[in-house]
Symmetry: C2
Subunit: 420 residues, 2 copies
């Protein structure tokens, strides 16, 4: 009985979102911006309500003995809620991605053809812990003229629910229907699964979270998916790499924020370079508390390193661990990336332009770097203003996705009776 | 045992295509064009071999009592094969969709960011009867730097196989590996299903054919899909429609080629207009052998029409049948399209600019027409040179898909040691 009731509810919510999306799609940029600012103001005035709900989640988390990093992601404060609100104000300032004429031409018969950007319709967002996604994703959805159905992780359900209630109540005073934000208030796995096949009412699913969440969506959804996130990123230090650049990029990519998807997980090092710069390399690791899982050649040169196993090459450590693979040329490095990479972000450090060109041409990934850290694969860092996720797939959007990723196009033809 | 053997084979073929795609992706435009011209020349000299194989398919078809239209699509002639070859020469003349810098900027820290178009990798093409798809899809794939795995319909298997053999033999004399064209030589349904989940080796699946084929791919594939084709297209004749335009657009959209996806299947007519132009309307239908399935209001005005049932509104007749729905305003027409349309091509005929704007803004479809026939939703008609299919989905590509739909982008970052 519960199942049937839940089934109706998720579908009904998706249908409400779809209905709301129709009017939302034709609102003016100023109407949408005004709504975003009202939602921001309401978050600012109602922050205590959100913090109170967050306390419920934190209490549950403590009971379940979640680790510190997890609790840290879950915890809100007045300042964090104010940051959410500022994020919405920032999104209001961004260019409206809709109504842009991507191309325009006239056929010989006089038919005018325009390709114009329009919203996707309804976005289904399936995500884990962090409550900030609830606000960020909603802001980007509304700004791009889309309704959103949110399905957050169970550990943050009280916080997410409170945030959504505040945002919806603010929409009541705007031209956007509050139904444009739908929150699936359930910790039931089945509720998520229902979203997977709701093609009639949801235009795209965006999963954000760990590998198992993403795979569950990709493997089971008939709704088109924008696949995000998993990054087994490599830094390749070529024979002719500048030592200072190589080590600062390596340390930055590994330690700046080890838990994010654009962090490096394996360093591939040219054997000759490692021989020559052995001291500097091992000191850099030691100084920054980076623990190496090295192949035989590298292990002999790095005291205290573990022997790498097959699993290490594929592992996204998300910690200060790193796999160290040695190679004898750039092609061997590329081959390793081809086998173990996740097509997210890959870097080469070298002063040899030819090797850099080979790497940039042959490696198949969303973002390739020559002499820079993989950490720049991020909508904020690249100047997009905000991002809905980082796509590791090839269709529709690849790499950091800003507002344009939430649009599609319409062909608009204007004639005077043309027939074929 | 057969299953196991087949399983290995399809996977091996996909892996061979993937390997071939790596070199193909970095060939110059001229190298790819030269290869296309060599394939064209070989089709021209080897046409007899292809016709002989086609005779086998035709013989099978006659045994199975396929209808005339089907046999017509299956049948090849010297002229048709020469047309295929000319098609490849035409594709060689098109602009290379790869290596285009879509945008470029420099961060404050000096990091240069470029978004560059690159091939998708390996395209899986799953299609029905017509052998021309074998040549057209291959030409577009190779030109856009992609390898292709072809799975054609069983009724054309001998023809398709012969065409592929000729094309592959021509590639042996070019810089493109013949492995870039893979043909799944099996009538086994399982062989097709294996392609659905081969994410590691196939970057996109493109189904072309009837609704059941397309749904089977969309529902079961974990490989991303470019959904094509089903078109339940409407012509809405508004109260202020010009009679001549309305009837010529209606007749063209219904009868020019009734079996294609951009043909009209329902005409929605404003009741006042139908009252006023009843004679002209029914004469146009009668003159062009169009049989109406009409709602109650329209049936009374169109002698000889059938009563429309619920099925008629959703039906893609692909014949000279048409459903006739009457409405009292443009919003009612839009609502009908929202329920029964397939987001392909929708037209309004009116001299009322406001109603036209409402229609163009509110109807959610790949192509919208004001005072023109839906028949223009076609890569050739729009001047794309060639098309791989017509997308009815919103992600990646919408509407007719030319060469750019077969590319993705790479972010290429060039730095001097930038870290975050």
């Amino acid at each position: 009985m519960t199942t049937t009731k839940q089934s109706l509810t998720v579908k009904e919510q998706a249908m409400k979102a779809q209905k709301a999306s129709k009017l939302l799609a034709i609102l003016s940029t100023e109407e949408k911006n005004e709504a975003l600012r009202k939602v921001a103001a309401r978050l600012e005035t109602e922050y205590e309500l959100i913090l109170k709900a967050n306390e419920v989640d934190l209490e549950e988390g403590r009971k379940k003995n979640f680790d510190d990093a997890f609790m840290d992601r879950l915890a809100l404060s007045k300042d964090r809620v104010l940051e959410f609100a500022q994020g919405l104000r920032d999104v209001a300032e961004l260019e409206d991605p809709n109504g842009i004429v991507k191309s325009q031409w006239t056929l010989d018969n006089g038919l005018d053809v325009q390709q114009v950007t329009v919203p996707l319709g309804v976005i289904g967002m399936i995500y884990e812990a962090r409550p900030n996604v609830t606000v960020d994703a909603t802001g980007l959805a509304l700004k791009s003229g889309n309704a959103i159905v949110l399905k957050g992780g169970s550990s943050a359900i009280a916080s997410n629910k409170a945030i959504v209630e505040v945002m919806r109540s603010a929409l009541a005073e705007t031209r956007i229907s509050e139904d444009a934000i739908q929150f699936i208030d359930s910790t039931d796995r089945e509720a998520t699964q229902q979203l997977f096949t709701m093609k009639e009412h949801i235009d795209v699913l965006i999963p954000r979270g760990g590998e198992s969440l993403i795979n569950a969506v990709v493997d089971n959804a008939t709704v088109p998916v924008l696949e995000t996130g998993v990054g087994n990123c490599h830094i390749y230090i070529d024979k002719e790499a500048d030592v200072e650049k190589a080590l600062s990029i390596l340390v930055n990519a590994k330690t700046d924020r080890p838990a994010v998807c654009n962090a490096a997980e394996t360093v591939i090092v040219h054997q000759d370079w490692l021989q020559e710069h052995q001291e500097a390399f091992k000191n850099a690791l030691a100084e920054h508390g980076i623990h190496a899982h090295a192949d035989e050649y590298a292990q002999a040169l790095i005291p205290g390193s573990d022997a790498a196993t097959e699993e290490d090459w594929a592992n996204e450590y998300l910690s200060r661990d790193i796999a160290v693979k040695t190679v004898s040329d750039v092609l061997e490095a590329i081959e390793h990336i081809e086998i173990y990479g996740t097509k997210h972000s890959e870097a080469i450090v070298t002063e040899n332009q030819k090797n850099a060109d080979t790497f940039m041409k042959l490696v198949d990934a969303a973002a390739l770097y020559h002499n820079a850290s993989t950490r720049f694969t991020d909508g904020g860092a690249l100047g997009f203003g905000a991002e809905i996720g980082i796509s590791t797939q090839k269709l529709h959007a690849r790499g950091p996705m800003g507002l344009p990723a939430l649009t599609t196009i319409k062909y608009m033809m204007t004639g005077t009776g043309q027939i074929r």
